[in-house]
Assembly symmetry: C2
Homo-oligomer: 486 residues x 2
Amino acid sequence: MESLDKQKGVKSLRPSIKAFFKARSVAVFGASTNPRKSGYYLVQNLISHQFPGNIYPINPKGGTLDGLKIYKKLEKISKPIDLAIIFVPNRYIPDILKQCIEKGVKAAIIEAAGFSEVGEKGKDLKDQIVKITDDFRKIRVIGPNCTGITYLKSDGVGIFSSFVPMPKIKQGSTVIISQSGFINGGFLLDNVTRYKRMGLRAVCAIGNKMDVNENALLEFFMKDPEVETIGLYIESFQDVRRLIKLSNQAQNQFGKRVVMLRSGLSERGAQAISSHTGSLGEKSELIKAAIKQSHAIQADDFREFFRILRTLSSLNHWEISPNHTQNVAIITISGGAGAVISDWCEKYNLNIPKLSDETYAGLSKLFPDWMPPNRFGLIDIWPAVENAAGDYQSVVLETLKISLNDPKINGIFMTAFYSQKAWQMDWTKIKKILEKYRKPVFIWLFGEYRDVLKAERIFERMQLPLFRSEHEMVKIYHSIFKRNKG
Amino acid sequence: MESLDKQKGVKSLRPSIKAFFKARSVAVFGASTNPRKSGYYLVQNLISHQFPGNIYPINPKGGTLDGLKIYKKLEKISKPIDLAIIFVPNRYIPDILKQCIEKGVKAAIIEAAGFSEVGEKGKDLKDQIVKITDDFRKIRVIGPNCTGITYLKSDGVGIFSSFVPMPKIKQGSTVIISQSGFINGGFLLDNVTRYKRMGLRAVCAIGNKMDVNENALLEFFMKDPEVETIGLYIESFQDVRRLIKLSNQAQNQFGKRVVMLRSGLSERGAQAISSHTGSLGEKSELIKAAIKQSHAIQADDFREFFRILRTLSSLNHWEISPNHTQNVAIITISGGAGAVISDWCEKYNLNIPKLSDETYAGLSKLFPDWMPPNRFGLIDIWPAVENAAGDYQSVVLETLKISLNDPKINGIFMTAFYSQKAWQMDWTKIKKILEKYRKPVFIWLFGEYRDVLKAERIFERMQLPLFRSEHEMVKIYHSIFKRNKG
């Protein structure tokens, strides 16, 4: 793959970033035989994620690691190497890069920190690297100060350069591009154990992005037909005009959803990111305008960022069109929670419509004479449950069916009480109904805590997200569907 | 107890609302022997919460219920009755109230719905009741359309009028006054199983508040020395001037914390509460101004309402003064999460101060030469963990100690990664440090999901709240401490 280096006006052979993802052999600098050290898990994760090719651990001490020979030097390896994962102190990096270039390695992930984020000394190191690599024409670099990539191929094999012990991850359609290394480490572990069925295509932690940046990866993955959603955690934009263009193109031309969490908007936040990934902060008003123009779904923090990605993955799994508009109904077992959700709907410009005559007639059959349902889409099912002599489950299922059948209702917020002891409910029974209507149903569950945790696992198996609070439920619905309102 | 009825200009004998809480005998209208019916759990909950006196189930069918004789009529009971819990269809209410008055019952909880929330017919019923009770001079009423009260006395006995099966609840210093019945039902079950160590003094679900309202209860409980925090969920203010006065008095004169969740601010929300508890909505701008003047901590939704109550209960347990101001430090294992928290701190006017020389010197010893700590209170401990050859626990404990010792730091936000496999940590070890400094330390934990759930239980045992997201952590800190900023 070639690219035209416009700045210098010459055509130069710069390897494509594809080199990272099609690698069939990998050298791991800083591999360790000590299970207490990160260099151990680097190799372990490659093995457990079935890296599709040879793995060559490198450590001057030599020895073996889980049956693999540890090479003392790169030059001792006779076969070609596609990718180098470099997990050694920063002072060794220039020399290792020289070795890699000599060996014909096309891609390197530099995990060490201590570059531009630590001032002058680090900047010198950066200059050396730019020179050695001929401004990354000789080798492409992800990092430094990063955890590199997770990349899962359709055939179940993958590349994995994080040093956090990680269970096997489900392959899917979500891509995450991040300046936080934790996204390919602790956050990833959190998410793959919490949202077991949310599949991932790739996670790229790009750190200081000395070479490969968010725009290059966004462009690469927006063209990947396996991908449906791209999440970006950015501390500073590399080229904000290009990001805006790519983000809109990803959405409009390639039909992807783009989610963004941007930090460094505050004075201290900007100082923080400067010491984190060496990025320079920008005026927050400009950043805010740029984020708006990118038309990406914005997340408030990491927990929400992953919750939105998980919700989008669920909507994709259920083949729920992103074109639903802002007409929602609320099905609630708590009148109070219904009122709180109504307030949030208004704040987020979601409309609770008048029910169609058919819907109203259908619901009325479930309700007692002394307490008919509302004429609009706030359905407090408590009287219906009383009327059904406590048969909670059938009231929930019937109400859901009747409401989803109303063409004026595009989506539903449901609050549900769950306690196996007295409010039994087989949650798997909602599956058939949801399959029929393919409209978003966002649920907030409360009740006996252990039962709620059990239900969470049932929902996860059905690939349906549960939401943590009434506000979160409405906020995320709004974030996802707002582009289509009106 | 007597009160002067100023409106009529005559001194009338109106029983005090103390009658509900000092009751030593209770009659339960609508008691049922069928464990599938709510009328069964009404009696069960009184038994299991050790109601301090006689329980008299009443049902025209007669029989026995767990060894208790079921009376067919109130008049068949020879002993005096202090409190009546009435769980029968609304049409029977007037007659039952007449019987209660005749028998000298001073307090009644009416759980049936179908009053002013259902229009004209319900309003007629209300008028009948007002007449029968001589405008509640002959008997005090909580409800209708409510779940009544939970009241836990210091000696471990209690009154409990909800029909949701409930485990034994810890007695403590929190009071909740609510127009949502679920607060004394499903929400309560959720909270007492989720936050097992959060003690409660009382939960009062007042429904349509035909007689007893939020102001009467707020006044009653603000004078209760056992109480430290009062949470209010209100759908419409009964007398907003009085609420503002009482709320400020509770805080300034009696030293209580007041938390408020107010719904019905939107058009649909107002319609919803009208059908929920028959309350009339008010102009939302006026409501907002009133909430502000009450100086209560505002909650966004029920989940946050309980999270704030739980946090306040924890601060009380740890004897952490509410006078901490807005200087906070961030201890983070993820630079990205640190940057996101910094941004939120700025939005909520929290200041991240420059570290004292002593603090900086102390931290510097933990950090490697190639990556010293920041000069201000954003402490990314990652390099220190690398420096300590992965001894995560000692870095967390040392950093916490050094930061809490800095007099310029009033509170701490901590993000922590937890996975038993590779990032071990004995969380109970932070107890000693927190005991020494008594400053708020708010923690957001992520990692292997099962381990995080385990840690949640450990934190609950230590009576420390974990927060669900970075944003939530900063928002709740701000809500609690903002009165003292500057």
